[in-house]
């Protein structure tokens, strides 16, 4: 049984300039905090979320079954990121569909639902918005910024955009940018959504429909890439869904894996927003801090001052260890303090959300060492 979490919301009337040249104003950020901010405000840890997660990082909602936060195994009292010692902040990104201002909300000028007109947001924009939230919470410097996958990109970006505002950065199962293959997966998912007849160019809200077919397929594609071949084989193999006889049907569900993917797709299409999916995958595609340094990651990371921990997982082929090693190399080139653990876990990209004794041990030890630096 975990502790109770309470979602909060902060209103930002002022304009936030975006990387694209557009801007957004009058927006809300949903967030949660766990633990207590210490007297000198030095024990704050910001957790950045990945594609389909939110500000609900840890704890449960009172009276709601199975409402554990998405990183509840990592964060909480006595957990590797110990909320008895740290003040942990989870924040929902702009454009999301879990509480912060997103495409399903009204444009303050027109009163119309944003839909496809929600501005394109980047990792850098999210970090800027998060920084404003920290300003309002009175936190000048984080003990650490922490994230996995797309959340790891935000943590990395934090160290470049606000190098003085954190002492440590923990970047898990992430990458300095997406490879062509990775963008390709995102594009297939986006095409599935955009070509759904219920998408209506992103203005499906007006038509009272949801492009669920597209969302389902987007999720199915994504889900395949988050697992490893071995884990899928172990979990499903060639098991048939029912009985031992083949049905010889091209359209019925035959194999367990099909049933599982369809279930995941259905579940996802019930709660996720199609425009949010487009926005977030685009933010992933665009992230590339080396781009403004002629592709030189070493030069791009020269601004970083934080001490780093990077973690990758050997079977993660979507954000492979090779990509984390690129970040490590760039930090080494810049003579930054960095540790790197390559965890031999079988679960593919999903491993960053799962319990693995070696992974949890490294995270716990690293955060223990951060806690030791805090004033008693």
């Amino acid at each position: 049984m975990s502790f109770f979490a309470t979602p909060q919301s902060m209103h930002f009337p002022e304009v936030l300039p975006l990387q694209s040249g557009a801007s957004i104003r009058d927006y809300h950020l949903a967030f949660e905090t766990y633990g207590t901010l210490n007297a000198d405000r030095s024990n704050a840890v910001l957790v950045c979320h990945a594609l389909n997660a939110s500000h609900h990082v840890a704890g449960v909602y009172a009276g709601q079954d199975k409402s554990e936060g998405w990183w509840d195994n990592m964060i909480g009292p006595g957990k590797p990121v110990d909320t008895d010692r740290f003040f942990v902040i989870g924040v929902n990104n702009l454009g999301s569909c879990f509480g912060s201002t997103g495409p399903m909300h009204q444009h303050p000028d027109t009163g119309e639902v944003y839909g496809a007109d929600f501005p394109v947001v980047t990792v850098e924009d999210w970090v800027n918005a998060q920084a404003r939230l920290l300003d309002r919470l009175g936190i000048q410097q984080l003990a650490a910024v922490l994230g996995g996958s797309l959340g790891g990109m935000q943590a990395l970006s934090w160290t470049l955009q606000y190098p003085e505002r954190m002492r440590h950065a923990v970047v898990v199962a992430s990458a300095p940018n997406l490879t062509a293959e990775n963008i390709a997966f995102n594009e297939v998912a986006r095409r599935a959504i955009v070509t759904d007849p219920d998408f209506h160019g992103g203005h499906f809200y007006r038509h009272g429909v949801i492009p669920k077919r597209g969302l389902r397929i987007a999720r199915m594609i994504g889900h395949i890439t988050y697992l490893s071949d071995d884990v899928m084989n172990e979990k499903f193999g060639r098991q048939l869904r029912e009985g031992l006889e083949l049905k010889y049907s091209t359209q019925d569900i035959e194999f367990q894996i099909e049933s599982y993917l369809r279930y995941q797709g259905d579940k996802f299409s019930d709660y996720f927003d199609a425009n949010t999916y487009l926005l977030i995958t685009r933010a992933l595609d665009y992230f590339d801090p080396a781009r403004t340094h002629a592709g030189n990651l070493t030069r791009a990371l020269a601004r970083a001052q934080a001490r780093f921990l990077l973690v990758s997982f050997t079977t993660d082929w979507r954000f492979s260890p090779k990509r984390s090693r690129e970040i490590v190399k760039a930090l080494l080139d810049n003579r930054r303090s960095v540790s790197y653990a390559e965890i031999d876990a079988p679960h593919g990209h999903d491993a960053f959300l799962l319990d693995d004794a070696r992974y949890m041990g490294v995270m716990r030890s690293y955060f223990d060492s951060i806690a030791k630096e805090l004033q008693p």
Binding site: V328, L332, S337, S339, Y340, A341, V362, S365, S369
Partner: protein, 194 residues
């Protein structure tokens, strides 16, 4: 060779304030010592999960890598000293890694079990592979896949254009400078690339 005296003897080869890369850094004790006692900075490289964890626990920066995959992550001359303490004997590509050590570091320090230490010679004379405190394994389960001698390393160093700055044996934490190839269980070489 975890004894404190041996560690101190090796640490003396590392100038204060050096930037150090410790290949096969184990639990990070050496780097920890160099950071605390000699004002050094740097990183350890380890493959073993438990050792990586131990390094993180003691606050030593560690990079989890298989040394047999090379040191591509590290630039030429990017460290003042590269240490290979009790590491060389575990490497498939020991010679490549020696060259890499010389490439990445301005100087290198290599320490490894000296197979020509007299108790080992005695054992071989009796017809058996040595099993000693320094080489505690049986021939069929030893992780020490490269067995060499003090003299062997001199030859390898010359072949790879390494200039030996200092070399000695270590036995019971003491430097052995007279007949080290027979009298020391550990061979130590401090070198730079010529």
């Amino acid at each position: 060779m975890t004894e404190k005296a041996a560690m101190q003897a090796l640490a003396r080869l590392v100038p204060p304030g050096s930037r150090v890369l410790d290949l096969g850094c184990g639990n990070g004790a050496m780097l920890d010592y160099l950071q605390r006692e000699r004002g050094c900075s740097g990183y350890g490289v380890e493959i073993d999960d438990a050792n990586v964890l131990a390094c993180v626990q003691r606050g030593v920066d560690v990079i989890q890598l298989n040394l047999d995959e090379g040191l591509a992550m590290f630039d030429d001359n990017s460290f003042d000293v590269v240490l290979q303490i009790d590491t060389l004997q575990h490497l498939r590509n020991a010679e490549t890694m020696l060259r890499e050590t010389a490439r990445v570091g301005r100087t290198g320090v290599v320490a490894f079990p000296n197979f020509a230490h007299w108790p080992n010679r005695l054992s071989i004379l009796r017809g058996r592979m040595p099993v000693t405190r320094r080489l505690p394994y049986q021939w069929y389960d030893t992780p020490n896949i490269r067995v060499g001698t003090y003299k062997d390393f001199e030859v390898l160093a010359t072949k790879n254009d390494l200039r030996i700055l200092d070399s000695f044996g270590l036995q019971d934490g003491q430097e052995v400078r007279w007949l080290p190839n027979a009298r020391a269980g550990t061979a130590v070489f401090h070198f730079e690339h010529a």
